[in-house]
Symmetry: D2
Subunit: 341 residues, 4 copies
């Protein structure tokens, strides 16, 4: 009963199959193989427009390499305080960009609000070379606190970026969970909202290790590929990244996995609420942030559940994360155990 | 009949098995899992002394992250002109080290010679802050041209490093091929020769994608782990790196694979020589550099063999690379075809 | 009547004299000259302990080079939001340190408070490689808002740094103004409080262009000198930096200049208050932040005074800066003009 | 009798005067003053076309900041082995460019030859992301070995840059000596030959500390100014850089100083040759590289002359450097002394 993270889940059977499929013959290295060459087409179809796809093995790499192509070494990247790039990627952004600065702002439940964002940006205009000028807005979809931007919210942020001539980047480590929640087309919350590039996550949602940099501005490809190479993120046996991604988007596997995880989160949420837990804020993806009485938290632990306290949201707040492989029956079992105790 | 590179080979069955073994249950992320926690012990046994192991997915990452812990941003890394870090890793070394400079020197068949090295180092002493002072010597074992340093040659280089207070790094992308060739203990050509750290390659020799940074100076671990994280090379599902490595060193798989590749290279070499080819220099691992008459080269191509010209070694010089999965029968078949033609 | 900045002032006569003194003969380059070789002794006497002095031409260079020797590329530098290194040095800190992150915190009138600082640091402990760990606390003395840390306040911060094994850096662009205000010995508010290094400002207080990196931890000298060279801050005609600094500390010129500027600020402050202005916070150095009624602000401008609005402190707040050459008679004249108007 | 370097000379009277002229009044900071605002016009007149001028205090800063605007972090800068950027600027180029690599080539007397350069460039074409692609050619005029490129030689290199879509940069630390030698218009050997940017040296030739980045491609100004700021090279009292430069180009001071230094070098050369010295190669600027019999070298030293051996050019080779203030009478005196001895 591991709700500590979606990173604890294994790769899913479809992706294992895809790797097994690449286990027998030789193939050209560095992306010249047949499997790798299908990526652009597969993602262009998924997003309903031409895109360029550059796969890497980790979300930090996908985020930081993308940002390095979007901003100068002198620029600022506006993001939420809770953003993974701000809180969980060490000094990766400065490293990859050659010095660009994260400019964190606040907003409820890890979401940037268009009005506040615009006011912040207005306050940073025309300050000259001494000051860092914002060059990019980076948001996470779904957010680090399990909330999801609506298409309208994203369009509003995209409009601000356009007005102020800023790039718009999306950390999509849990993009699948967001699309599953919204029931929208992937295009609606990306390029149609003005997003230039997304790190399209697969690792947390069933892959072994792959996130795709998807460039809606395909002119960025050359620079992204250079940054990937020199940072050691170009696989020689590139087909092992590509095959994971192709399996991931084939027959909507990515959405099926995400729907399962989201559904498990709702089931877990309902169960916890029935025991008196309260939500810290809306749970829209596969992450719950809930307030548990100490006694309930202890019963959960005694019953074998793994989960983390989340003190930055307040005392007695805990995070639960579900995944593509969360066993719904286990949630029933957990309910039985804490009811009995 | 693909002799273009060892990167064209797939992962080997034992490593696929290991990945399959990690396909079903949950496990802690970021290296806290049981599989990952076996790495240090497994490699300490292999090297017959305590080591620290930090796995990453690519050789460029393993080399550059290692070097970033061995030199300052102001330092020089002395290597052979042909070194992978000098010729094939873009500006990765400067990126990871914060500016350190590669100082290429010459030597026969991609090997540094102790005397020349010492003379070069002597010429760079006491130049003050204007000049870049060497801080590390980096060699490749087996070299990029398929030659292998003997234990004595390495000990001589190690002694120079010690005398001059320099770090000693080994790019071991084909370390297995070198050990297989020398028939020595891995310790003899690493820490016993004064090597501080090695990138212990597995990808070219049967893995999907993993090279291990093996630190003989275990005090480097903290800094290497920080550099790995911020460059996006820390896998969340870390067990998929660890399981490859454990399978790779279990029951001498790494040596068996390398012996096969080296043997295939010898067989191919003998066959080519029987057709009039001449070796550009000794072929000691799984790479051959041979001179082929244009007519013979054409017959080889016509017979379906894939291989690259290597113009930096001269006209009519070609490289052939074998791998763990090279089919010896195919070499016979190739011989038949070019004989018939 | 230029109160826009202390950077608008020219060099002072004593420093011009010193430059003229170096105008006629040859002398060794890069700091090997007699003038440069007096620096360590002069500053060791001034600080009453052995120090190492590395002069550079700008405050940004002094700050960033110092920090590059105090933190790793993975570390955090805790500072006030208003800190010059955070607000006015572009992405310099990340550039020089190879990626280290500024971690701004709040506090009244641009000063860090020991308790809040300690609480912030406590919240960043033991977060592992994902998170940036603070490695240094950087404060500005006098602060960017014209306030001055007392010796006790600094000792409290120094004790926290020691407890938590952090470096302690002081941006002393207006250090002279702080010492002049406190009437203390320079040692009391630097190394005796645990400061490892200070950028000892001279440019704003009468020099042409020189700030000294003064290292209380003299073991940092080598790294600082390497960083200075490779960033282009090592003067070939080094004596022109050294001669400015020697003149600056000779016969307490630095304190005399600062006392004049501080006194001018008090005179200006009294005058403004007599016209109904109110202080935004205590004015302890050569900077005033005052609230002016719009009508008074306009009368000041009409009278020929130059000064900036400071909207980050609120509506109708303005900054006035005095310098070593501020003419007290002009303040009287200004008073006459705005009284008449 | 100091022939060790032109850096040992003091500032010249005209430049001291200019600094004195800026010693009394206030003026806007950071380049908004009247003196600084004259720079573009003064240099546009000097070069007979519109240029953008960004002054910094050192040659290393001028070179590295310029290059940072001309190449990407993934690119190569082709230069001569002897180039100051390769031999004497620590790891500055990699630091400022974010990793770009110096690609040294050979050529007689520190000069690149067009044919060899083109052949080298041809060998680096189409190598993909693994390899560093040249993005800029950087030459030094006059060279580090005291030779001077002719206008035709530069035009040939410029044509190669244009053909291959590379930037063309000139390190002009001793540009004045080159122009004085050639007797040409400054335009002939810069933008008319395809040069994009030059570091226009003044420090070695009479200034206190200033070299101007002169951009013939004025679109680079914004990026250069950002790089200058964040590297700490933007003077607050900017007029002290500008006033030096204006005095330097006024009434051909720069050429008069250089003609004097070149003339002194010729006089010294003739004197040395008369004593049996031989030139290592042509002496075209203010630097001589001569072979001296050990006995003559000793007599020179005994007579009080300061000069350096230059072992990279061979045994018994010495460098002599003259400057704007070299006293011709001292050369006679030196001759007398070594003749008498």
């Amino acid at each position: 009963m591991n709700f500590a993270s979606d990173n604890v889940s294994p790769l899913c059977p479809e992706i294992l199959s895809a790797l097994e499929h690449e286990a027998y013959g030789n193939a050209p290295a560095y992306g010249a193989d047949e499997t790798s060459r299908q990526l652009d087409a597969a993602f262009s179809e998924l997003f309903d427009r031409e895109v360029a796809v550059v796969p890497v093995a980790t979300g930090t790499a996908a985020n930081c390499i993308s940002l390095s192509a979007l901003v100068s070494p002198f620029g600022g990247i506006v993001c939420h305080h809770e953003a993974h790039i701000n809180e969980d990627e060490s000094t990766g952004v400065a490293f990859f960009t050659g010095g660009a600065k994260l400019m964190p702002v606040d907003g409820p439940a890890a979401k940037l609000e268009a009005d506040n964002l615009d006011a912040f940006l207005a306050s940073r205009v025309d300050r000259g070379v001494h000051s860092v000028a914002p060059e990019c807005v980076a948001i996470t979809q779904a957010t680090e606190l399990g909330t999801v931007y609506t298409a309208d919210e994203l369009a509003a942020i995209g409009a601000i970026c356009k007005k102020r001539d800023l790039r718009f980047f999306m950390d999509g480590a849990r993009f699948a969970n967001a699309v599953a929640h919204l029931g929208c087309h992937p295009a609606d919350i990306t390029w149609k909202a003005g997003v230039d590039a997304i790190s399209f996550g697969a690792t947390k949602n069933g892959a072994q290790a792959v996130d795709a940099i998807v460039l809606f501005d395909t002119s960025l490809r050359g620079r992204v590929e250079q940054a990937r190479k020199r940072s050691g993120h170009l696989y020689s046996k590139h087909r092992y990244l590509a095959s994971q991604l192709l399996a991931y988007v084939k027959d909507d596997l990515w959405l099926r996995n995400a729907r399962h995880a989201n559904g498990a989160a709702r089931t877990l949420c309902d169960m916890l609420v029935s025991h008196g837990a309260t939500l810290a804020h809306a749970a829209e993806g596969n992450e719950l942030f809930v307030k548990l009485a100490p006694e309930l938290a202890q019963r959960m632990r005694d019953a074998g559940a793994l989960f983390y306290p989340w003190p930055s949201l307040g005392a007695d707040i805990y995070r639960f994360v579900t995944a593509w492989n969360t066993d719904i029956a286990q949630i029933s079992e957990l309910n039985d155990r804490i009811t009995r105790n």
